[in-house]
Amino acid sequence: MAGNSINACFDVTSLGRPFDEAVAKAIGDALFLEVNVVEGFGGFPLNGDGFMDELTLAMNNTCDVFMGVSVSANSPFSEAFSLTRPYATIPFVLAVSDPQWQSLGDIPKDRPLGTAMASMGEMQYITWAQQQPEGQSWVRYPYPDPIKMATRVLDGTIAGMILWQPALARLQAERPETEALRVIDSAPIPGAAVSVGALVSSRNGFLRSEMDQAIDALVADGTIDALMAEFGYQGLAGE
């Protein structure tokens, strides 16, 4: 943070990367700060090795804020970092291409599902499935790549996919062939949603306080709602 500017960093593999940048700029406008967009990092293995090391380096060297992080009760971040209040809460959804199905319960149990690998939505599904009698849940395959998973829904390999809604919105914005995908009710699986916020240094309580106030204001005046609509996101501003 220098003078009237702020360095906002991003996980370049983040599913909500463009939305997070738009929110960062709105926060900057609210605080009369110029926002310098800094690409962060990404490309980690499935077990997350190295993420915290890279994050710590980036926060110490470059970033005033790191946008697009998950704000959850059991935050994995060290106490060196503080989370802002969430600027959006966005659900996981079930997407299918078969027009006959209106909810997960309509999908035959012998058809497999795909889940976004290591996601909250996948965790919710596994937890639910483990509580069902044998044969009363769907076989599930993990997919790290939403494009591959969507391809497999469209070619019928899997009946549907559970993924974070921004990933679906991005697919449908960028790939016309995914237009046939639609969201159906995921009942009986309980809903899962991710609250999205930003990370700041714990030593910079002033910045965090300013960010929180700015987010409050942007939620209250409809700015976040407008951005979510612009990017095709479901869910709620703030929360």
């Binding site: 490309g43 090795d49 993420f51 994050l55 992080v69 921004p166 991710v194 999205v196």
Partner: protein, 592 residues
């Protein structure tokens, strides 16, 4: 040694050379003697031509000048700081008076094996990668455990998934080949085996999302680099049993199966043997494979070196849920008993520390033997079927079990050694347990990582010494304990056995030790600058036997630091090699 190392002219100006001559020094080895296929099949006792000395991966030397009577007289001949900090598992090679030493970031150096003088250095120009590929950048800091020698070449596998062939004489690149796409996550972390006119190697990075469905052992023509065959360790279309073992999970949703250690080779049958690592994701609850055994993870594979066709497989740990992978060294042992030659494959393949012997021609299970405390395998049937402890299979995310051995304990990359003199297999092991729980963690919103959370490493109840040097008395019928040596620090180096009746190995407390092969009596130790690491080896030159001891950081050395505060790690990585020999007036080296 003949004097045939001549300084080469440099492009640098005289002024520049004056300012920084050592950094630019580049010499040439004249009349380098090629490493022939015959030499690889029958290496001279005085040399160390490959990863574990010979194709059989025994880690055994026929040199006997350094023995139980003389080891106490060892003196430092020379030492050398490796060219890079960070973690490494170096396996130095020696041929024709030259030591070839590799370290991380794909740096290879040629040293005068008698004096320790640097002759040439090769620094691989790693491909530029976007900042978003920081994991691949991390891969560059990971260890490379071996290089290979063939004819007048040094063969290197790189972090950016290339095979690079250097001229042994000057370290210049003769040719290189991009084998797989590093942008998907592929990289090499182990070196190649040169056999049957091929560079036989195995790729890593198979737990990265982009490498889904493909983890390979591959063969390339040693002269041209053309791919001859590849074998996919997690997708074998020729074996319905392998496909079914993933519980319906399609190949494109499979990960893991990394062959983490350079294989063994039997020239008589032209068979190459490789160990395979864990499945991904770690927990079956997450990977969706149900109670399937997820072949060929945690297996030994015997492949036809000519074609890559699978001859047989044996799975040491089905249904791995705890990252207790089993890719470590496979050792080929021949024993003639009552006029019958028994051709075995002996291994402690994985982190649970269980020793196995197989008939290496058929894959038939011969016996197994538990070593350290483990609770993951409940029994092994007479036919070799391994039964896991299903009480430790997760039924819910967040469910936590205490699992022994630990992901960072048991048997790791540090290779054991077999001595044909004592018919004993010496294995460095670490007692450890940790809690394991399948979990998911979101850092970036909607983009979570992680599938298993590991708790801190603890010692099993009632055990206060982490380190165990286990000597196993090996024959085709059994592998019983010959002796055990327990000590507080963890072993951090591989083991070397010699015809001098000794077995050498080192630990996190910076001590290189020598034990009497027969009794387990500690007969020598020397404290060095950093945790002992890599692959100690020995060679002879001008009638003198040398002992090479690498030191520095590896994954094992760094993970031990949190376990034993009384054994502090030194500042800096300390990556070095120390070369010992006997005083010059001691009798001339011989090979028995």
């Amino acid at each position: 040694m003949k004097s045939r190392i001549l300084p080469a002219l440099l492009a640098a100006s005289t002024a520049l050379a004056t300012l920084s001559a050592p950094a630019f020094a580049q010499n040439v080895i004249e009349d380098y003697a090629p490493v022939t296929a015959e030499m690889l099949a029958n290496p001279p006792a005085e040399e160390w031509l490959m990863f574990r000395g010979k194709y059989n991966n025994q880690g055994y030397s026929e040199l006997d000048m350094i023995n139980k009577d003389t080891v106490g007289d060892l003196e430092l001949a020379w030492a050398w700081p490796m060219a890079e900090a960070g973690i490494q598992e170096t396996a130095p090679l020696v041929h024709d008076g030259i030591m070839f030493l590799q370290t991380n970031n794909n740096i290879v150096e040629a040293l005068n094996a008698e004096t320790g003088d640097l002759i040439w250095q090769y620094r691989h120009p790693v491909a530029e990668i976007p900042a978003s590929w920081s994991y691949q950048a991390n891969q560059a800091r990971r260890q490379k455990n071996s290089i290979a020698l063939y004819e007048d070449k040094v063969i290197l596998t790189t972090v950016d998934a290339k095979i690079v062939v250097l001229n042994a004489a000057d370290g210049k690149v003769a040719w290189e080949k991009q084998v797989l796409d590093y942008n998907l996550g592929y990289s090499y972390t182990v070196g190649a085996q040169i056999a049957d006119g091929k560079i036989i190697s195995a790729i890593s990075g198979c737990s990265i999302a982009g490498t889904a469905g493909g983890c390979y052992i591959m063969a390339h023509d040693v002269e041209t680099g053309d791919e001859v065959w590849r074998f996919n360790t997690i997708d074998d279309p020729n074996n319905p049993e392998q496909q079914a073992s993933w519980g319906g999970v399609p190949p494109e949703n499979r990960w893991g199966g990394t062959p983490w250690t350079t294989g063994a080779y039997d020239p008589d049958t032209n068979t190459t043997y490789w160990g395979i690592g864990m499945p991904g994701p770690y927990a079956e609850l997450i990977r969706g494979s149900g109670d399937g055994s997820v072949l060929y993870t945690n297996s030994t594979l015997a492949l036809d070196a000519a074609t890559g066709e699978l001859k047989w497989y044996y799975q040491h740990l089905p249904r791995d849920n705890w990252d207790l992978d089993s890719p470590f060294e496979r050792v080929l042992v021949d024993q003639e008993i009552d006029g019958v030659m028994h051709k075995m494959l002996v291994t402690v393949p994985g982190k649970n520390g269980i020793a196995f012997a197989l008939d290496r021609d058929t894959g038939e299970y011969l016996w197994s033997k538990e070593t350290i405390v483990q609770n993951v395998v409940s029994s092994i049937d007479d036919d070799g079927k391994v039964n896991i402890n299903e009480d430790l299979v997760f039924n819910a995310l967040g469910e936590e079990f205490l699992v022994c051995s630990s992901v960072s304990g048991g048997k790791l990359w540090q290779a054991g050694a077999y001595s044909p003199d004592t018919q004993a297999f010496f294995v460095p092991l670490t007692e450890a347990c940790n809690t394991v729980a399948p979990t998911q963690t979101e850092f970036t919103a909607g983009n979570a990582v992680g599938s298993v959370k590991f708790g801190p490493r603890v010692l099993p109840e009632g055990i206060t010494d982490a380190g165990l040097m286990q000597a196993l008395d090996i024959n085709p019928e059994q592998g019983e304990s010959k002796w055990q040596y327990r000590y507080r620090p963890s072993p951090t180096s591989s083991v070397l056995a010699t015809a001098g009746g000794l077995v050498f190995g080192g630990d996190a407390a910076r001590e290189i030790k020598a034990w009497d092969q027969e009794t387990g009596e500690l007969v020598w130790s020397q404290r060095l600058n950093a945790p002992i690491g890599g692959y100690p080896m020995t060679y002879a030159l001008n009638g003198e036997q040398y002992l090479v001891v690498p030191t520095g950081y590896s994954n094992s050395a760094s993970s031990i630091s949190s376990a034993f505060p009384e054994i502090p790690l030194p500042t800096g990585s300390g990556n070095s090699i120390f070369v010992f020999k006997l005083p010059s007036d001691t009798t001339t080296a011989s090979a028995n």
